[in-house]
């Protein structure tokens, strides 16, 4: 291997910065996990190891309710966002570049650029109007809102995969009598599958995690886990929210690991 002209690892202070970065990233998480096993009533005072707050959270009807709602919204939003993102990615890659294509990328990725609070307020206004007109106040609003901001997250990996895919493969399929649908079904989609799964998982985690938009859009009694936790902060806080956060962490880590192994088996 060549030694590059500029090896960042040999610069003064590199080790220190690395160490600091790792602490900044992982120390709070480590503290969160450790304190979720705190036996005390207080968030900050350590009083022996205990799993009591996990049990408490598990048995808390409000937590159960919010957790199920979070999962339902996340699954629906990720599912719908992945479909929309796949279609958007196909439409923006399987075409000859034209004026305005970059503008379309911007439109699709709008939720990444517009401050979330702006979208939240806007949705609050629009949805409250619709609620008045239709009388419907179910989970649909949250699913729609989550789908919208999940689309760019699902879109990015799918588009990246489509762009790197060899177009001659689709041409070869067409040459071998496949109709456009058959080409998609038998060639494009199978090759796209890892990216679609990645997009779905990203969207799922992003939806599960959302606070701002959910807080503004939800009707009464429609707490998700994050908004429930936020609500708890206004009252007395116990290590219960540490326990919930730890479960969250375990779940998202598990998702990443599962995805990693699915992908590795393919290759």
């Amino acid at each position: 291997m060549f030694k590059s002209h500029f090896d960042i690892r040999s610069q003064p202070g590199f080790g220190l910065i690395t160490l600091f970065t790792f602490f900044a990233l992982y120390l709070p998480i480590a503290a969160l996990v450790i304190y979720s096993f705190n036996g005390a009533e207080s968030l900050s005072r350590w009083d022996g190891f205990s799993a009591r707050w996990f049990v408490a959270a598990w048995q808390n009807a409000a937590v159960q309710d919010a957790a199920i709602r979070s999962l339902v919204i996340a699954i629906w939003a990720a599912f719908l966002a992945t479909i929309a993102a796949t279609m958007a990615a196909l439409a923006t890659t399987r075409t000859t570049p034209y004026r305005g294509l970059t503008f379309k990328y911007a439109l699709i990725n709008q939720p990444l650029m517009v401050p979330e609070i702006v979208t939240a307020v806007a949705l609050l206004i629009v949805f409250s109007r619709i609620k008045v007109w239709t009388g419907y106040s179910g989970l649909g609003y949250l699913v729609v809102a989550h789908t919208a901001f999940c689309i760019p997250f699902a879109y990015l990996p799918i588009r990246a995969r489509l762009e790197s895919m060899d177009l001659t493969l689709e041409r070869a399929a067409a040459d071998l009598y496949a109709t456009r649908w058959q080409t998609f079904r038998h060639v494009t989609l199978p090759l796209l599958r890892p990216a679609v799964i990645a997009g779905f998982m990203l969207a799922f985690v992003i939806s599960l995690d959302d606070v701002v938009i959910t807080e503004f859009v939800k009707s009464g009694g429609q707490d998700t886990l994050p908004t429930y936790m936020l609500g708890q902060l206004r009252r007395e806080t116990t290590p219960e929210i540490n326990a919930i956060a730890t479960v969250f962490l375990a779940l998202s880590t598990a998702l990443v690991v599962v995805f990693f192994f699915i992908n590795r088996k393919k290759q």
């Binding site: 060899d166 001659t168 493969l169 041409r171 070869a172 399929a173 067409a174 040459d175 071998l176 009598y177 496949a178 109709t179 058959q182 038998h186 060639v187 199978p190 090759l191």
Partner: protein, 366 residues
């Protein structure tokens, strides 16, 4: 549509009539008319950018001609989609489906046509045998060598028994030895299957070896169509003579014409017989072409039509190349076979005479 899809026992004939193709402001094909006969091994030969691949893609249906018609067995297929044409392609990079096995790749076309499982299985088995890949049906294509992938690509394109097989420089990624054996293999497959092969290459040797007929292309036009012999021995114009093999060009003056023969006077003053292509009317100053292997080097004598000085001798094992500076300053190359071992008997700066075999000069169209 169902008509054109039916499997054929004979190769299809392709007609290309007045084909023009523009990409924006760039004209890739300029008024090409070609007839490719049933069951022939036809090659489109030319340097890169000459429009040969564009023509191939128009037969496949990946490009539509801006003007003109593509006919298959007399039926206009210009507007049909690629999947509606009984024409299959072997791609330059093979384009095998990486998520499918060897057998699934080969059976893909038949599956898309909705053929029953049993038929697909039996055709795939035959195809594996045809391309010497028996027992490899279950392998992922990504584990095959370049040569094996090439054969899978061939089998995949042949399995639906197309009327015409298109091959887009399929041998360019293989090493020399493998390429030689694949050339023989392709010729064998073409003869065995009776399918019309349209082969695109920039390699003149490949074209000469395999083709029944060759179309030499340059800058979007067809310069000459003919058998390998026609193309090599009777080039119609300078580009063709120059592109195919090594050639000597000499300025000459026509002194007499009778039938398809002429007598021309070279700058040395010697008069030699020359033939000319049917569409050329010789008159005045012309260019004649003489292949290096049709001339002999000797000591200057009355039989020498040209004289010069050896500038360089290149020994190539089977033969020797003499680069000779003629009296008028032009360079002339002679290729002589090394019939016996030992030195050729000449050395650099020797004054030599060049004699020609009978009937080897050809007048070119300008």
């Amino acid at each position: 549509m169902t008509e054109t899809r039916t499997t054929a026992a004979h190769g299809g004939a392709i007609g290309m009539h007045g084909i023009k193709k523009w990409f924006g402001n760039f004209q890739a094909v300029d008024d090409v008319t070609l007839d490719i006969r049933s069951n022939e091994f036809f090659t489109l030969l030319g340097p890169s950018g000459c429009g040969k691949t564009t023509l191939l893609r128009m037969i496949a249906g990946f490009e539509l001609p801006t003007e003109g018609q593509v006919l298959l067995d007399g039926v206009d297929i210009s507007s049909l989609l690629p999947n509606q044409r009984p024409v299959n392609t072997v791609f330059q990079n093979y384009a095998l489906f990486p998520h499918l096995t060897v057998a699934e790749n080969i059976g893909f076309g038949l599956k898309m046509l909705g053929k029953p499982r049993s038929e697909i299985d039996s055709v795939v088995k035959d195809m594996l045998k045809l391309v010497h890949l028996e027992g490899r049906g279950g392998n992922p294509v990504t584990q095959l060598s370049g040569g094996q992938q090439q054969r899978v690509a061939l089998a995949r394109a042949l399995a639906p028994r197309p009327k015409v097989l298109l091959l887009d420089e399929p041998l360019s990624a293989l090493d020399l030895k493998l390429r030689k054996s694949m050339q023989m293999e392709l010729k064998r497959l073409q003869t065995e299957t009776g399918i019309t092969f349209v082969f695109v290459t920039h390699d003149q040797e490949e074209a000469l070896t395999m083709s029944d007929r060759i179309a030499v292309m340059s800058t979007g036009t067809v310069r000459q169509v003919g058998s390998p012999w026609d193309i090599y021995d009777r080039p119609a114009e300078r580009f063709v003579a120059d592109f195919i093999g090594e050639t000597n060009f000499l300025e000459a003056e026509v002194v007499a014409v009778s039938g398809d023969r002429a007598r021309v006077r070279l700058s040395s003053g010697a008069e030699i017989p020359a033939t000319f292509p049917a569409d050329v009317t010789p008159g005045g100053k012309v260019t004649v072409v003489i292949r290096p292997e049709h001339a002999q080097v000797g000591t200057p004598s009355p039989a020498s039509v040209l004289r010069g000085i050896i500038r360089e001798i290149v020994y190539l094992g089977t033969d020797t190349h003499f680069h000779i500076r003629l009296e008028d300053g032009t360079t002339f190359t002679v290729r002589q076979q090394n019939a016996r071992s030992g030195s050729c008997g000449f050395s650099k700066d020797d004054a030599v005479g060049i004699s020609l075999s009978d009937d080897v000069a050809q007048i070119l169209r300008d």
